[in-house]
C-alpha cells in the first residue's frame, strides 16, 4: 500500500474526523483545547517584557497575565513542522506569492499582495485576541465544546468573511478559484 503521507491530499471528512480525534487526545493528555493565537500573544508579550521591561512594568497586562512558552507555543511550532514534513513527503510545495485569484483582481504586484497579507493578517490576529480565539480556538475547539461565545464568533467571522470576499473579488471571482 502506498504511504498515505505521499498523497497530496486526503478527503476533507477524513481530515476533519482526525482533527476531532486529535482534540480528544489534546484534552485527555494535556487538558488543553487546540488553539493557535494565545501563543502569539504570549510570544510577543515575552519579547516586549525582555526588550522594554520598564514599559512592560507600566502595562496592566503583565500584572494580570503571565505569558509563557507553553504547550500551545509548541503546538504552533509543530503545525509548521508537520505541514513541512507532509508537503515534502508529497511534493505539494508551492512558493506562490501572488495567487491566481488575487492576480486577476489586483494585478501581479508582489508589493501590493505582501502589504495586504501583512495588514490583513495583523487585523485578523487583533480580532482573534479581542475575541480570545481563532478558527482553531473558537471555530473548532470552542464549537465542539458547544461554547456560546464560539458559536457566535464562528457565525460572525464566517459571515463577515463571505461579505468581504465578495466585495474584494466580486461574484465572478468564484470563477477563478
Amino acid at each position: 500500500m502506498k504511504n498515505p503521507l505521499r498523497n497530496k491530499e486526503w478527503p476533507p471528512y477524513v481530515v476533519g474526523l482526525c482533527i476531532g480525534v486529535l482534540s480528544w487526545f489534546a484534552f485527555a493528555t494535556a487538558n488543553h483545547p487546540l488553539g493557535i493565537t494565545t501563543s502569539f500573544e504570549d510570544g510577543v508579550a515575552l519579547i516586549e517584557q525582555l526588550f522594554a521591561p520598564q514599559w512592560a512594568a507600566s502595562n496592566e497586562y503583565f500584572t494580570q497575565k503571565t505569558p509563557k512558552i507553553s504547550w500551545e507555543t509548541m503546538l504552533v511550532v509543530g503545525v509548521f513542522l508537520g505541514a513541512m514534513f507532509s508537503s515534502l513527503a508529497s511534493g505539494d510545495r508551492e512558493r506562490i506569492v501572488v495567487s491566481a485569484i488575487w492576480e486577476q483582481r489586483f494585478g501581479p504586484s508582489i508589493t501590493v499582495r505582501m502589504t495586504a497579507a501583512f495588514l490583513g493578517a495583523g487585523l485578523m490576529m487583533f480580532g482573534a485576541r479581542l475575541a480570545q480565539g481563532c478558527t482553531s480556538g473558537h471555530g473548532i475547539s470552542g464549537s465542539l465544546q458547544l461554547a456560546a461565545s464560539s458559536w457566535l464568533f464562528s457565525i460572525l467571522f464566517f459571515g463577515t468573511g463571505v461579505a468581504t470576499a465578495i466585495l474584494l473579488y466580486g461574484r465572478k471571482g468564484a470563477n477563478h478559484v
Binding site: P12, Y13, L17, C18, I19, G20, L22, S23, W24, F25, A26, A30, N31, H32, L34, E41, E48, K68, I69, W71, M74, L75, V76, G78, F80, G82, A83, S87, R93, E94, R95, S99, A100, E103, Q104, M114, A116, A117, G120, G122, M124, G127, L130, A131, Q132, T135, G137, S143, L144, Q145, A147, A148, I155, L156, F158, G159, G161, T164, L168, A174
Partner: protein
C-alpha cells in the same frame, strides 16, 4: 515562564499531527480559503464541521467520565462581536486563518510568512493596548464561560445529535445533490518562480 518539558513535548507532537492534517486537508492554500468565502469550494466547512461533530462526541463522553474539564471562552459580548468581524475581514484579505497560515509557511508559501509577521504585530498591538481594550471587550457585559446547553437548559447530547444530523444531511446534499459541492483541485497554474518540484496539473486552466 515554561511549561514542564513533558507538556512541551506533548504540544509539539500534537502540533505535528495537526500540521500534517491541515496540509493534507488542503486548507493551507489561500485559494481554498477564498473559495470557501466565495461559497464555491466547501473544503473548509467540511473539515471544520466533521471535526466539530466528532470532537463534540468524544469531549462530552470524556467529560461524562470525569476525565477532562471544559475550557470555554467567556462570552464578552463586545470582544466576541468586534473580534469576530475584524477576524473575518482580515482572514478574507489575507487568505489564511492563523493556524493554516502557519501550516502554509511549512508548505513554503511566502505570502503566509509575511502574514505571520503581520500577526505578531497584531498581537503586539493588542498587548500594548490591553489596559484600554480589556474594559472595551466587556463594555456590553460578560455572560461568562457558558455553553449553549447551559444557556438553554438543555442536554448537550440534544445539540450533538442535532449537529450530527445537519452534518449527515450536508454530506449527502454535497455528494449527491449537486456537483457544486465538489472540491475544485489544481485549477491554479503553478507559479513561475517555483523550483519545479510541483507536478504540472493534468488539466491546467488559464486563470
Amino acid at each position: 515562564m515554561f511549561d514542564p518539558i513533558w507538556k512541551l513535548a506533548l504540544g509539539l507532537l500534537t502540533g505535528i499531527i495537526f500540521g500534517v492534517l491541515l496540509q493534507k486537508g488542503g486548507v493551507a492554500k489561500s485559494r481554498v480559503i477564498i473559495g470557501q468565502f466565495l461559497l464555491k469550494d466547501w473544503t473548509v466547512l467540511k473539515v471544520m464541521g466533521s471535526a466539530v461533530v466528532v470532537g463534540a462526541v468524544g469531549i462530552y463522553s470524556l467529560l461524562a467520565l470525569d476525565w477532562i474539564s471544559l475550557h470555554v471562552k467567556p462570552l464578552a459580548w463586545t470582544g466576541i462581536a468586534v473580534g469576530g468581524v475584524l477576524f473575518g475581514i482580515g482572514m478574507a484579505i489575507f487568505g489564511y486563518c492563523p493556524g493554516t497560515s502557519v501550516a502554509a509557511c511549512g508548505e513554503g508559501r511566502r505570502d503566509a510568512m509575511v502574514g505571520v509577521l503581520g500577526m505578531l504585530v497584531g498581537a503586539a498591538v493588542y498587548v500594548g493596548l490591553y489596559p484600554s481594550l480589556q474594559p472595551f471587550t466587556e463594555s456590553l457585559g460578560n455572560r461568562g464561560e457558558v455553553t449553549l446547553p447551559e444557556v438553554t437548559g438543555t442536554s448537550p447530547w440534544l445539540w450533538i445529535a442535532f449537529l450530527a444530523i445537519v452534518a449527515v444531511v450536508a454530506f449527502f446534499v454535497g455528494h449527491f445533490g449537486s456537483s457544486s459541492g465538489e472540491r475544485i483541485v489544481q485549477k491554479e497554474p503553478p507559479d513561475h518562480q517555483s523550483t519545479g518540484n510541483i507536478q504540472t496539473p493534468k488539466h491546467p486552466v488559464k486563470a
